[in-house]
């Protein structure tokens, strides 16, 4: 392999490229929009990404050292939690929402199903502090990190400072998560002219463009807005979504539009993980919508699909699976850091 090929491969698989100053550049296809995250305020370096990756996989972030970010955001599930409708925290506690898949986070302007969090840096504070998730506090986590065997060194390497602060911790976690760029699906290859859709996929793409793209907008397959998609309220959870944050009745039962990338890996679906299969999701949109009076405008007109069309739509959705992303070794448990291999 030539040197150029190796560099190119590194760029494609890591989601970032090196420049001479040690600052890495986030790489993404030219048809992606500009990231929302201001990388100038948190310039990527390999040391900080490495630190963030270690933190992401380390149980030290939870009160009893049993749960890590990756417990509910597993790389093999596109950083969602397979088979768990609701998130799972310390002491086998169950939360109230489905752990969303994590990818292309540099393009998000809000986080959580209700948009409670306004910046990727601040997102980790919520699970760290939630009694049903990691049940700890950032102050205590920092004290644990400061007394650990590995972290003072990792922070020193990343920040040239042996004193660990909340800012360093949160920004390092952001760094690793920013590198989780999914842009190597078949859809992306077709976009780049490296592959073509089958007739079935092409037909599915047309149906998608007509019925789904207004909210699940290409190429990120979400427009990051909050919508009521016609799910009946689960009275065991009574989750009113966005309204909890804005106190605005018009936001009742609105949840953030998730990306459709990597759906094969990130089941179950919806904010409370109530739908286990993609076919159930399509059935929901074609014949299961609840309370049409308050549903989002995009869904007011019924979506009518024949059974063949449903299959075609599914075939297109599967072209958004990105195996290179899901099995990317650079995203996985860092044995060499956490186990000292």
């Amino acid at each position: 392999m030539s040197k150029k090929t190796i560099i190119l491969l590194a760029v494609v698989t890591l989601g970032f490229a090196f420049d001479s100053s040690g600052i890495l550049e986030l790489t993404y296809p030219e048809y992606f929009p500009e990231p929302v995250y201001d990388l100038k305020k948190n310039p990527l370096t390999s040391e900080k990404i490495r630190l963030g990756r270690a933190l992401f996989y380390d149980n030290i972030l939870s009160a009893d050292n049993t749960v890590s970010c990756a417990s509910c955001h597993s790389p093999y599930n596109a950083f969602a939690h397979s088979d768990h409708d609701l998130s799972h925290g310390i002491g086998d506690q169950i939360g109230t929402r489905n752990a969303p898949a994590l990818m292309n986070l540099a393009w998000h302007n809000s986080f959580m199903w209700d948009g409670a969090i306004n910046h990727l840096d601040m997102q980790a504070l919520a699970p760290i502090s939630h009694p049903k998730e990691m049940g700890d506090s950032i102050t205590n986590v920092i004290s644990k990190l400061q007394h650990s065997k590995i972290y003072p060194k990792l922070f020193q390497e990343a920040y040239q400072d042996s004193v660990i602060t909340g800012e360093y911790l949160l920004k390092a976690l952001s760094q690793f998560q920013l590198t989780l760029v999914s842009s190597q699906s078949k859809y992306d290859d077709v976009k780049l002219g490296k592959d073509t859709f089958s007739t079935q996929e092409m037909n599915g793409y047309k149906l998608f463009s007509h019925h789904c793209n207004s909210c699940h907008t290409e190429p990120l397959f979400t427009n990051h807005s909050f919508k009521n998609n016609g799910l009946e309220i689960d009275t065991t959870l009574n989750d009113y979504g966005r309204m909890t944050i804005t106190s605005n009745p018009a936001d009742s039962l609105k949840f953030k539009v998730p990306t459709l990338r990597n759906l094969s890996f990130s089941s179950p679906y919806m904010h409370d993980g109530r739908l286990r299969k993609l076919s159930h999701v399509i059935k929901h949109y074609t014949s299961g919508l609840h309370d049409k009076a308050i549903i989002s405008d995009e869904l007011k007109k019924p979506i009518v699909l024949t059974s063949n069309e449903k299959v075609d739509l599914l075939a297109f959705l599967l072209t958004l699976d990105d195996k290179a992303f899901v099995f990317n070794p650079a995203h996985q448990f860092p044995r060499e850091i956490l186990l000292g291999d």
Binding site: I117, L120, S129
Partner: protein, 231 residues
């Protein structure tokens, strides 16, 4: 001149300049009071308004965007934008004014953190989320925190907890303060918690822990309690 006298002269001039330097070291200091007396945390004290004893556990707030005005025109502003004032940390209550203009007749600042800063991601020092002034379940700084106990409070264990914050319209809570300053070297700004109880009925409102209408009301109230004190 002998070597010795040269050294002595040097020493004295150093001391002289040091003293001058000290004199030029102007400050804004925050004086937190409970019924005209310095507020001491976790100490029972009498509140005439409540006609009850009261004990404070936390008095902590952000002040930001200090600007000096002369005849209504901004003549100077402090480079450091945000300061966390914590009654528990005496050093936090003094803001250095070295280098700032001394020709002004009005001081303007905010109680709290503006919405732009609230959306700017993780920051360090006074804005580090480890200060306990950042919400975790939703984004945003707590601008003003007042906690304690008094038997007049019907809350659990007679505890009152005011965590005032919120940056999104219509519940933005960062509130402006303007003080007319006569020719003073050092500025003393007083907050007497007693004045809070004059305006807020502890038997009705004693627990505000999220953004909303009540947080806006109380934030506006609190911003009016900051007064110019005597040097």
């Amino acid at each position: 001149m002998t070597m010795k006298s040269t050294l002595l002269t040097l020493c004295f001039s150093f001391l002289y300049f040091f003293a001058i330097g000290q004199e030029n070291n102007r400050t804004i200091s925050f004086r937190i009071l409970s019924n005209d007396l310095p507020l001491t945390l976790e100490t029972s004290t009498y509140s005439p308004v409540l006609n009850d004893s009261i004990s404070y556990e936390v008095v902590k707030f952000y002040v930001s965007e200090f600007e000096f005005f002369k005849n209504g025109i901004c003549v100077d502003s402090l480079i450091q934008k945000h300061f966390l004032i914590d009654n528990e940390k005496p050093e936090s209550k003094i803001i250095d004014l070295t280098g700032a203009s001394n020709n002004y007749d009005e001081l303007r600042f905010n109680i709290g953190i503006d919405s732009l800063t609230n959306c700017a991601g993780a920051m360090g020092n006074d804005l580090d989320p480890t200060t306990g002034m950042y919400w975790t379940w939703q984004s945003g700084y707590i601008n003003f925190k007042l906690e304690g106990t008094t038997s007049s409070c019907p809350g659990r264990s007679n505890r009152f907890q005011y965590h005032l914050g919120g940056y999104q319209a219509p519940f933005a809570t960062c509130a402006a303060v303007s003080l007319d300053i006569s020719n003073q070297k050092n500025i003393v700004i007083e907050l007497d918690t007693e004045s809070f109880w004059e305006k807020n009925n502890v038997s009705e409102t004693y627990e505000i822990m999220s953004p909303g209408k009540k947080a806006v009301e109380l934030s506006n109230l609190v911003s009016q309690l900051f007064k110019l004190g005597h040097e």
